[in-house]
Subunit: 295 residues, 4 copies
């Protein structure tokens, strides 16, 4: 039986996920800070709320996917926030990429109110969301995970349970983004070496991304780096730095040295200093190329 | 029509490749430093030679895949070497992973003798060789590449032409191995972060290697790193360091700074100093774990 | 004529500085969170206050040197803080090592109240303070700097004016501590190379610290590193990491990539993970030695 | 009693050292590849030889200070080399900065001939040589060291004995140059941080180089970096890279990971790729500044 659910955050990822839930037959109430984003979903059958609290029913389920930690705090806390409206027995499925420390604070805050907070960050891009093919890392209370499982099935093909360690699934998301940033640095250095030795960058990447590295990250990022296509951005460089900073913060809190994360961080800071905040974060490659004298 | 060909180097990779050539109907003469490796191929129809020169016919084709630069020099040069026996019109298909500078020296040496030297390093492991599913990076003279194309088809499913820049395909091979070493470092750091935050290493790798990073390197190396299975070695750590040193040498010669290659190098040197030369090079992970206090 | 002044923070550095001011003939009121630290100074002629506000006269001068940003906020703000007591015309000489962002917030806060906030971090150790031989980096309003110049002379032999850029002198202090951390890493790596090649570490350091590097940092840290004397700590490793984090935060805010600061950071995090927080921060050397297999 | 001695290599350092020996009353025979360098020394009383062998007497003492390993091999080996002329009982005092492996090969070669090879690299610049104020790291056989001690006194004020471990003093020299390169990187990063935060680079360096870092390296290099004075070069960047490569080679041979040496190496390679081989190696700073967007 379909559950009545709330949804906060209708950006590039949130909108197609909400749409999948509506299309699966659920009654969905939606909220977005800039209200025009809600219109297509209302046409598809959603109800629009004027505040985060407006999407939540007592003891119900609310999904959120917003830009950063501050936005999550804002839609969650206070009289207009989802937590007050959810109350005891409610479940907040949080899909945003945020600090591990914030996730843990959120878990404690919801527990105090008798509600459950699930970390449920997603892997994949907007087309995968629209096709219902996202991967989800999930952590939190077992009962809440069981309750939302049928809902997650509406937009994902792969849900992985990471138990109930505080912020666990959020760590997984950050570690995944770190792997992507590392692949960008590796591909950029490899392409610079190839180029200065007379090897075609694109042919090099195609061989590798068609064999040992035949996976989405190396295919998509490899092509972009080889051809230096950094605009329009799929993921802005300033956001990439934000995420690597979250990685380093989690690493510092848990006393894990991550020299490769430091290297990616420094590359991104260089890119910011050179005015590339609004390019795709693959534009790390430009600094690699400049250091090699090929740009 | 099948060509008479020579084959030098019957190790883990050479043996199954030579076997594919025999099974494709070619007359194959084989040589290996320790002669017992030749026995199964002789049973399959090969002729055994007592010296490298013995496998080569005037103007013919010889394949070689040996351990390092010194071994390649040895089987190629001198009265017992393949080059003297090949002479003008001959083609030497060199599949070993060697220094770019050595490849260039070999090209010049063969050109002086009126023969052709092709860089043809392979990507893939022994089972892929046995199944005829290797990928090959190829560079050198166009005529020679055309001549050997039907032979390469016997053991590969993907041959990529990198033109005739000196040593080009060899650069591709080294850059590919650098990408693997970088992935090992990235996976090790990510697993350390996960582990210290209560996330199961194996579950973490399985999620990523089943979605954004669904490719052989991340699946195979990811599993080995997550479970810390470093013996028996698929590729010994000392050899990994040898290859990263070749990467750094090529980078230095062409003035390409590669800080990530430096990081992998330093990690491998640490591993050597700790006595891990005979573990798989994934054992870089042990040093990452020790630095994080988890081993 | 001697000015009536306040002094907050009577730790290893604060106590000898306050004593120099007393001995120079100034009327000094002192405050320390744990009051027993005040006793020797009261004996020397100081007046003891029960709250930070108690040391400040309207329009007067207050020095502070406390452990961290939080402590500085605490002694400055609120009805019991020095700022309310100083009021318009007052001068707060802040000698603590704090975040650049905190220094800037403090500057704004004092300006709103009509008072002046001077960044005045000191270089040197307790014996240098007792001998009146500290070096001071100074920034803030010219008038305030002129007013306190005679007071600074009581405990320093070298005051350098860094103008009135926000937080300028604090940046200088952090950059100086970064130079020290970098020297520790450099000396540790050099000693590891020496040791594994049969060279006596101490003799090596003595030669360099007696010639090209004949200065306090290389003499003091060099000897400690060569002989691995890490306890009792002159400066605890956990505090060293705190300072390097302040460096990296300032660098991030101003978009300056500092790969060497990242390297020192990672070395310190490794040391924390290995349980060395309470050793001197020269104990970074232990991780360098372990990586080289010499410990 | 003054000894008859030979001297090979009359460059910026060799010439003033040879002059000191002549002025101390020794009979000195000199050789330099480009013979015009010998003229001022002949005027001062030296005898000029037409080949390296010409400066050596059977069982005598020869000093050499040449550009690199190849030059040292050339002046030492063969019928025209100093070793053949020295023969049993001779002493070769080698002051060049060379590979540790070369030093060890030289030691063995001299031992076979019944002669002694002393590693005697010097610390200091041409003015210090002219003033007799060099520091010397010395290693090799005790008897030979005793014999040359009075000669070294003619141009040095500080001779440090590093025993008889193979190549020991040469390791000391390389480790010292590594410390200098590390200080250049540290100062460059610190200056970039200062500059982007409104702090005058020169004032910053003057404060530090006048207190905690009051030593020749920080004073001289600090001023050059702060003011970006990179030409004429005191030590060319290409030579700096050569020396750091020698450091890394020695580190690799002895299995010592040196991440800071790797960082300096990568910075120098970047500088080479940007066409700065003929600037002073302090010009590493330009790449640091470019990464921070301040150049």
């Amino acid at each position: 039986m379909a559950e009545t659910i709330g949804f906060v955050g209708l950006g590039n990822m949130g909108a197609p996920i909400a749409r999948r839930l509506i299309d699966a037959g659920h009654a969905v109430s939606v909220y977005n800070r800039s209200p025009d984003k809600a219109a297509p979903l209302v046409e598809a059958g959603a109800r629009r709320a004027d505040a985060p609290a407006g999407v939540a029913a007592k003891g119900g389920v609310v999904f959120s996917i917003v830009a950063d930690d501050a936005a999550l705090e804002q839609v969650t806390r206070g009289p207009d926030g989802v937590l007050a409206a959810l109350g005891p027995g409610g479940v907040h499925v949080s899909m945003s990429t945020i600090a591990v420390a914030t996730a843990r604070r959120m878990e404690a805050l919801h527990a105090e109110a008798g509600a459950s907070y699930l970390c449920a960050p997603v892997f994949g891009r907007p087309p995968a969301a629209a096709a219902g093919k996202l991967a989800i890392a999930l952590s939190g209370s077992a009962a809440a995970k069981g309750r939302v499982a049928p809902l997650l099935a509406a937009f994902s093909q792969n849900v992985r349970d990471f138990g109930d360690a505080p912020g666990a699934a959020n760590v997984v998301k950050l570690a995944g983004n770190f792997l992507i940033g590392s692949a960008v640095e590796a591909l950029s250095e490899a392409c610079a070496l190839a180029e200065k030795n007379g090897v075609d960058r694109t042919a090099f990447v195609e061989l590798l991304a068609g064999s040992l590295f035949d996976c989405p990250v190396y295919r998509i990022y490899g092509e972009g780096i080889a051809k230096r296509q950094f605009t329009p951005p799929g993921f802005r460089l300033a956001l990439g730095l934000k995420d690597i900073n979250l990685v380093l913060a989690a690493a510092a809190d848990s006393e894990v040295p991550m020299p490769l994360a430091s290297l990616v961080h420094d590359r991104l800071v260089t890119s910011m200093a050179k005015g590339r905040r609004d390019l795709d974060w693959m534009a790390m490659d430009l600094s690699v190329s400049e250091d090699a004298g090929t740009k």
